[in-house]
Symmetry: C2
Subunit: 133 residues, 2 copies
DNA sequence: CTTGACCTTCCAGTAACTGGAAGCCCTATC
DNA sequence: GATAGGGCTTCCAGTTACTGGAAGGTCAAG
C-alpha cells in the first residue's frame, strides 16, 4: 500500500507518516521504485500512534506505548504508569487553564468594551505583580 | 538598570528579555559599553508582558495588547475583543482536555496495572478508529 | 508523448523560548 | 599589573511535532 492509501486509512497526513518513519516509529518496506509499501501491520501501528497522539501522549510516550503494544510479555503496570503520568500532566494543565479562565473571564466581564480607553483588563496586566500572589 | 536587575524585578529570565527585544517588544537603551540599560518604563512593559504571557496570550496578542496599553486614545473594545478571542481558545482547549481526561481516566481505572500483559489501555489505542466516533 | 496525480528527498519555518560557546567589561584582590 | 569572578554581549543550535514547499522521479491514461 502506498503512503497515500495508508494516510487515507489512518487519517494521518502523509507528511506525518514520513516523519514517523524518520524518527523510527515505523519501518515500512520499500518497493523497487523507492515508494514506501505499508503492510496491514504498519497501518495498525499508524492508527495506534494516531489514537495515542489524540490523547496528547508525547511522541516518546507513544514510542514506549507502541513497544509495549508489540511486546506480548509486557506488564500492564508499565502501560498504566505511562497513562497515569500523562493523566497527571493533563490534570495540571486543566487546573492551570481553569484558573486562567476564571481570572480572564472576570476581567472580560468587567470591561465595557466600548470606544473609551478605560480598561480593567489592561489595568490588571499593568498592575503590581505582588497583587497576583 | 542592567538586564540582571530587570530580570529580578520582573521575574523574567534574562534570556527571555533579550528575546523580547529581538522580536521588537521592547527597546531598552544601551550604555556606552553596550550593556542594555532598562528604564522604569521598560520594566513596566516587561512586567506587563510577563503577566499577559501568564494568561497564555500569544506573543502577537501581547504585542497588540502592549500597543493598546501605550495608546491613551485606545478603545477598550479592542482590548476586550482580543481577550474574548483568547478566552474562546482557552474554552476550546478546556473542552478538549476534559474529554481526553474523561476517556483516559476511565481506561486507567479499568487497567489492572499488574504484571500480566492484558491491558484495556492498549486495547483502546489499538482498536478500530470507527469505535471512537 | 504529454498531462496529472502520485511519490521521493531535502530544506526551511512554526512558537517561544532555552542552553551553551566565545568573548568583552568591571571590580576586587594579591 | 595579573588574575579571578560575575555579569554582560552576540550568535548558533536545540526543543516539539509537525507543516509547507521546491526539485525531481514514477506511473497510468489519453
Amino acid at each position: 500500500m502506498n503512503i497515500g492509501a495508508a494516510a487515507k486509512r489512518t487519517g494521518l497526513p502523509a507528511k506525518t507518516i514520513r516523519y514517523y518513519e524518520e524518527i523510527g516509529l515505523i519501518r515500512p518496506a520499500r518497493d523497487p521504485n523507492g515508494y514506501r509499501d505499508f503492510s496491514e501491520t504498519d497501518v495498525h501501528k499508524l492508527a495506534f500512534l494516531g489514537r495515542a497522539r489524540s490523547f496528547d501522549f508525547s511522541i516518546e510516550d507513544c514510542r514506549s506505548l507502541l513497544a509495549l503494544y508489540e511486546d506480548s510479555t509486557r506488564a500492564s503496570g508499565d502501560v498504566k504508569r505511562i497513562a497515569e503520568g500523562h493523566l497527571e500532566r493533563i490534570d495540571a494543565k486543566l487546573a492551570e487553564l481553569h484558573e486562567m479562565r476564571r481570572t480572564l473571564s472576570s476581567l472580560v466581564d468587567s470591561c465595557a468594551g466600548d470606544n473609551r480607553p478605560d480598561c480593567p483588563i489592561l489595568r490588571d496586566l499593568a498592575s503590581d505583580p505582588a497583587g497576583h500572589g
